[in-house]
Amino acid sequence: MSSVNLDQNLNTAATVHAADHHEEGEHRLVGFIIFLLSESVIFFSFFVGYIVYKTTTADWLPAGVEGLEVREPLINTIVLVSSSFVIYFAERYLKKENLWGFRALWLLTMAMGSFFLYGQAVEWASLSFGFTDGLYGGTFYLLTGFHGLHVLTGVLMMAVMLGRSFIPGNYEDGEVGVIATSLFWHFVDVIWIILFILIYVWQ
């Protein structure tokens, strides 16, 4: 019968296990990318909704609203977009195993992200219309709010990764978490650029 090599197989099982472990990181990354692709469809749907509303609604702006101030959001945008470069260099440092360089730039990215959130909060506070003020108010807060939630998530993810960098030996084998976080950050950035064009530029 064919079961002759049963015992052998049992012995090899343990060694195969170790090899499995190495691959797990890559699985995670693949899984994360698939997730991001899926996530982008939510934003895409909101964008489509926004475009449909904007092009078909007769009284788009609520009464008494002139439009949006672009200057401060533009500064915000520049900060957020440049943070994408900063995080890229942070990752480079990590690859070169310069942990302190990594931590410094990583912290800078977090700061820039937080600045963006702060700027957004200030803007929200200054606006004369609310979430329930027609389709304009609804879509504005929906889009910026949903995006802001992602920025917040990104900053929190970075905080976790920063913490983990203090666990000795944790990042010796490269760190999927860092790559994933930085991917996420780039994603959040690209979404913002589209959002900025839709909401602020196309008025």
């Binding site: 079961s3 090599n5 698939i34 469809v41 939510i42 909704g49 389709l135 929906l142």
Partner: protein, 562 residues
């Protein structure tokens, strides 16, 4: 041995398997074993199927007479809303996820899914959102009564004025179900991309894995659109934004686009894995290779692609402009091409084979015939002038119950019978299985065929009362429905008694080809002692070729010894 591909290399009959947990209570734990999770999914989903079916029994009881007499109208409306929601989100999706969970790692030669813990979390969300949905029967005002589409403005009307109402809980449950499904989809797709055994190229993968991948891809691009729509609906309902509320300038038709952009593809999430089951079963029980394997495999993804561009066929009467009607009529009809490829391939597989009418084969054949019928009425519905007449009538209800019950549920039954020995280590009772088949097949046709003449004569769906002219066919439909209700009894009896008392199952009772049949029944904890190296295509019936390299070695060894 001559049939190398079906003998088990790792396995000696009657010998205890290493590391095999035999405790029944593992099914009630946060297990990360894909096989445990698979069975958890299947059993949980089946409980909800009974609940959804029970609601349908009450509905058919109401519809047996023209007047709205058995239950109050609000209750009837809640019944069909919950029936549709439960059947789709808590029966078909979870049960198919269960099958995929159980089978995919085994079929591709992996020890587990890519993310075992995520897998467990995704499963345990099912009872959570199930409970939320059930709880809506208890809140003031009762469950959602806006149909499973939850079209605004009806879904935004809130006669109780409470914040926590049936509609709110409904949206919450559907959103959680979406999150759980996305977790599952990420997991399954990653598993299929990354965890295949050496030698298992895409074109050596069983068609079931292909169809699961195609179906889960739909979840990945479709569910987020539904989520977006649900979030906006939730804000309209709770804080009073005006996305979909025409009273404040919103656009109720946009919601319909969001909804159907997902919910049309969702029907292929249901049917594709069932196509996979058909593709696995016909070769085994006709003992012939799957005809045109590559065509069948690839056509799954053609269906995935097309499914994303046909959603407006649910909205032909919703104020859709002519060009859009004609465009979506054309795209919808093209789906019959990749589907036809599959149908013809199965017929050719069965043709000239050595057919064995076991219970799984009977369910698969019955499901195929029902699907054929439903597909043809589907094409009729796609023809705009005709659809305008039967849209929102019982013709549509008949169409989709033929696909969903007649094909999908029967295909799921086929799968459960076919893999039951593998999952439990016991054989089911063939006699009870055949009884189950006969009752189901007659029940389906008695229940759902009369809905077609009803629709043609103009009986709208979602009505608790109707004009007496429709009574004749409704009585027949109700009798069929009660027969279907009875049909689950032999199934339940069979499953429970044979799990406990059934004959012990060998590793490969059907002499089937496939990695899952090379390991013991039930498979040991990490499936494969050594990951196999795959060397052949999956359906080598009649070819006496080895499926995996280990078999080559062992046959050589065996011939040396002799």
């Amino acid at each position: 041995m001559t049939e190398t591909s079906i003998t088990a290399p790792y396995y000696r009959q009657n010998e205890p398997q290493p590391g095999e947990p035999e405790k029944w209570w593992r099914f009630f734990t946060f297990s990360t074993d894909h096989k445990v999770i698979g069975i958890q999914y299947i059993v949980t989903a089946f409980v909800f199927f009974l609940v959804g079916g029970f609601l349908a029994m009450v509905m058919r009881g109401e519809l047996i007479t023209p007047e709205a007499d058995l239950v109050d109208r609000t209750v009837y409306n809640a019944l069909f809303t919950m029936h549709g929601t439960i059947m789709l989100f808590m029966w078909t999706f979870p049960v198919l996820n269960g099958l995929a969970n159980y089978l995919v790692p085994l079929q591709i030669g992996a020890r587990d899914m890519a993310f075992p813990r995520l897998n467990a979390v995704a499963f345990w969300m099912v009872p959570v959102f199930g409970t939320i949905l059930m709880a809506s029967f208890l809140v003031p005002g009762g469950p959602s009564q806006s149909g499973w589409w939850a079209y605004p403005p009806v879904s935004l009307q809130n006669p109780t004025g409470n914040l926590i109402n049936g509609q709110f809980l409904w949206i919450l449950a559907v959103a959680l179900s979406g999150i759980s499904s996305i977790m599952g989809a990420v997991n399954i797709v990653t598993t299929i991309i990354r965890m295949r055994a050496p030698g298992m190229t895409f074109f050596k993968m069983p068609v079931f894995c292909w169809t699961v991948a195609a179906a889960q891809t739909i979840q990945l691009f479709g569910l987020p659109a539904l989520t977006a729509g649900a979030v906006m609906l939730l804000f309209d309902l709770t804080v009073g934004t005006s996305f979909f509320d025409p009273a404040t300038g919103g656009d109720p038709v946009l919601y319909q686009h969001f909804f159907w952009f997902y919910s049309h593809p969702a029907v292929y999430v249901i049917i594709l894995p069932v196509f996979g089951v058909f593709s696995e079963l016909f070769p085994v029980y006709a003992r012939k290779p799957l005809f045109g394997y590559k065509f069948v495999a690839v056509s799954s993804f053609v269906i995935t692609g097309l499914s994303a561009i046909v959603w407006v066929h649910h909205m032909f009467a919703s104020g859709t402009p002519s060009w859009m009607r004609m465009l979506f009529m054309a795209t919808t009809m093209t789906i019959s091409v990749p589907t036809g490829v599959k149908i013809f391939a199965w017929v050719a597989t069965v043709w000239g084979g050595k057919i064995r009418l076991t219970t799984p084969m009977l369910f698969a054949l019955g499901g195929l015939v029902n699907f054929l019928f439903a597909g043809i009425t589907g094409i009729m519905l796609a023809a705009v002038p005709f659809d305008i007449h039967v849209n929102n009538t019982y013709f549509v209800v008949g169409h989709f119950h033929y696909v969903i019950y007649g094909a999908a549920v029967m295909g799921i039954y086929a799968a459960i019978y076919h893999w039951f020995p593998k999952m439990t280590g016991h054989m089911y009772y063939e006699g009870l299985g055949k009884l189950h088949f006969v009752l189901t097949f007659i029940g389906v046709n008695l229940n759902f065929l009369p809905m077609h003449p009803l629709g043609l004569q103009g009986m709208p769906r979602r009505v608790a009362s109707y004009d007496p002219e429709f009574a004749y066919w409704n009585v027949i439909a109700s009798i069929g429905a009660f027969l279907l209700g009875v049909s689950v009894l032999p199934f339940l009896l069979n499953m429970i008694s044979s799990w406990i008392l059934g004959d012990e199952a060998p590793a490969n009772p059907w002499r089937a080809i496939g990695l899952e049949w090379l390991v013991a029944s039930p498979p040991p904890h990490e499936n494969f002692a050594e990951i196999p190296t795959v060397v052949s295509e999956p359906y080598g019936y009649g070819k006496s070729e080895p499926l995996i390299a280990q078999q080559m070695a062992s046959t050589e060894l065996a011939s040396e010894l002799s």
